[in-house]
């Protein structure tokens, strides 16, 4: 396993194996009556559902009770309110994905000051330090995902091609890393390729932004969008407008899996492993509650997916068969 990126404070990644549970850990957790709360940006995505599944299963195996799973609806205000409420409820630990940076940092400091162990997913608001404010960050190797998407798109690009990059306007560790890594890979490995970067604030802005980019730069031959849901919207609008851009993105949602199976415009997807990430987050939480040592940053490697391996990769990542339509397009089902 190779992790390409560094943590939010320059930490070196620890592999998920570093937080494996031994039988004595599980026995100790079962006898400790531990309670945790999970606070996520949304509950309405495949990625979240699988993360929760990985966490809840692991917690359950170890006798740890998840008292609640909170949906923040992408709202910083709501996350702050929920965290303040949870301080009163006083679980032993909170596993949380911070939805913003400056707006939520004070609330996370309050959780930590209240003596509740904090394990973060994907993002660390600027100013929070491992060991002082939170125990560990568990995330994908987002830098590696950006590089993977670039490496997958590059063979499909002609000499001197132009690529549009659609990043996320919010100052968010995961999407920042993907965007930087994509352009860095192109700069290092395809110096002939030029990139134009724009960032969307809300998911429904991405498609409009892409249309404006192709209007300004009609020679754009491909797009990299930092996650799959806006990428699907971008591809659909561009196709409706008669623009045949290649697409690369991060996360293998069902729609992207079907689009990738069709051949074009999606040619490269760098997939996270949300189930395994959920397992690693739960294990990290249990170990820290047992007083064991845990690394500041546990990172999960990504999976590079193309049309050639989309069916089996989908199974690996989502723990279920690839969508029927994808299998049909691949000629693997009637």
């Amino acid at each position: 396993m190779t992790i390409a990126g560094l943590g939010p404070h320059g930490e070196r990644a620890a592999p998920p194996e570093r937080v494996n549970l031994l039988p004595e850990d599980i026995a100790a957790a079962k006898s400790a009556t531990l309670r945790v709360a999970i606070v996520l940006h949304t509950l309405n995505s495949d990625w979240t559902r699988l993360q929760i599944s990985g966490m809840l299963g692991t917690f359950g195996d170890c006798g740890v009770v998840a008292t609640e799973v909170v949906d923040c609806g992408f709202s910083a205000d709501r996350q702050v309110a929920e965290l303040d409420r949870l301080i009163t409820a006083a679980p032993d630990a909170i596993v949380a994905l911070p939805v913003a940076n400056e707006q939520v940092v004070a609330a996370f400091r309050r959780v930590s000051a209240a003596g509740i162990r904090l394990v973060l997913l994907e993002n660390v608001p600027t100013g929070l330090l491992p060991g002082s404010h939170y125990t560990s960050l568990v995330s994908s190797d987002n830098f590696g995902l950006g590089m993977m998407a670039a490496a997958g798109l590059a063979p499909h690009l002609a000499q001197d091609a132009v690529v549009g990059v659609l990043g996320f306007a919010a100052d968010f560790f995961a999407t920042n890393e993907r965007e930087i890594a994509f352009t860095n890979w192109m700069q290092a490995n395809r110096r002939d390729v030029r990139t134009h970067v724009k960032r969307f604030g809300a998911m429904d802005e991405a498609a409009d932004l892409a249309l404006r980019m192709v209007a300004d730069h009609p020679d754009i031959a491909g797009f990299f969008v930092v996650w799959d849901t806006p990428a699907i919207a971008v591809a659909s609008r561009l196709q409706s407008a008669g623009h045949a851009s290649l697409m690369a993105t991060v996360d293998l949602g069902e729609d992207v899996a079907i689009a990738l199976s069709a051949g074009r415009p999606f040619v490269s997807v760098a997939a996270q492993q949300p189930f395994q990430q959920g397992v690693a987050a739960a294990r990290t939480t249990i170990l820290t509650l047992l007083g064991r040592t845990v690394p500041a940053w546990v990172a999960m490697p990504g999976v590079s997916v193309t049309r050639n391996n989309v069916a089996d990769s989908f199974q690996t990542i989502w723990r279920k068969p690839a969508p029927r339509e994808a299998l049909r397009l691949l000629g693997l089902a009637p």
Binding site: G127, L129, P130, T183, M186, T195, K198, P295
Partner: protein, 457 residues
Amino acid sequence: MPLSAAATAESTRLRGKGRPRTSETAAPSLVEILNLIRSERATTRQALERESELGRAVVADRLQLLSELGLVDESELGLATGGRAPRLVRFSARRGLVLVSTLDQTAIGVGVSDLSGNLLTEHHEAADLTAPASHLAGRLSALFAWCLERHATPTTPWGISLSVPGTVPAGRDGFFMTATPPVLPVWEDFPLVETLTRQFGVPVWIRSSVETMTMGELHAGAGQGLRSMLFVKVGRRIGAGIVCDGQLYRGAQGAAGLIGALPVVSDGVTGTLDMMAGSDMIQREGRAAAEDGRSPVLADLLRRGSEITPIEVSQAAQIGDAAAASILSRSGHLIGQVVATLANALNPEMIVLSGTLVQTNDNILAGIREAVYGASHPLVTRDLRIIRSQMGSSAGLVGASRVASEALFAPAFLKDWILQGKPTLHPDFVDFRAHAEKAGGPSSAIAPPSGQERSAP
């Protein structure tokens, strides 16, 4: 517009024949007032009059000019103490940005901060500092450009400050760097300072990582408000940052605090402090303790397939592993002996220990404390506090930003740009930039971001 603001302020005053121009007479008081506000020694007009010993009219006039230049803000009200609530005078820290970077042998960190040293964003990635300097300069430029786009505001950068893994010779430069110091062999003959100046159109400062971390700790960490402080960074190498009279002491050559080169003796073996107490020793001894079973925790980690790094040794010691604790205590004692000598020479108010190992482990801290308290004059240790840094790896970036802001607002430099509104119009810098651009061919300055779009380099 800064220039017109200065001109307006000047034109409103009557000037007799032969009287000095307002720009000549106003600059010293503007500098004094701005630095009182910036350092928060005065936050109201009354406090400014008291601290500066200037009259009410002069303070009002200078504040108006500073406000027109965008350097101060008086929109906030303070707490009333009987009458009307006073208007607070605040430094406009977002008037300019500072691009900061920490470079070490295997990683590069970049960030953007405001003029008070508050980090607005940071990013770290792997890098090879032994690669050709042109590669490093290219990557640094691309990341700085990205940082500026991330904060797509009309605010422009005012300076670049770099933290590097080696001693930066002192005394060769004036207000800002005009040549690239030979910190690393691969930097020989590569004009990094000139390249960055040309590309971003701002002055550049470079300091060693120990110096920037010391600055970070002094201004944003445990050392805030202290006049004397000793900062000790423990890693593969061990170095000290010295603060005297509230200022970082750099020494004649910028080589103050290289304590890792001092000889120490442990178990009859003599070696440098770096060799005998640094993280290489901890890793080597930890691995040996795991393999021969002296350390059950490290042996267990080895059984789980983990690599034994100094972090694992530190974590094992933290949960009570005797062998790991002994390795770290030995390191702490050796470091403490050397630090005690420095403490007796300097009599600091505080010793701040930094580095991943010290920040995650109590044994090194305890070893250092024991050695310092045991080997120091009672007066030296009477009120001495020995603590570990709470700033983590961000200290280098924050400190680099403070290096830049201290230099930007140093009275000798400030007095010649304050009426222009920004430091890039300082006459010396205008000359140096012209020289750098001439030396580098046609100008390739990176324009301040006007939107979010750019072409990647």
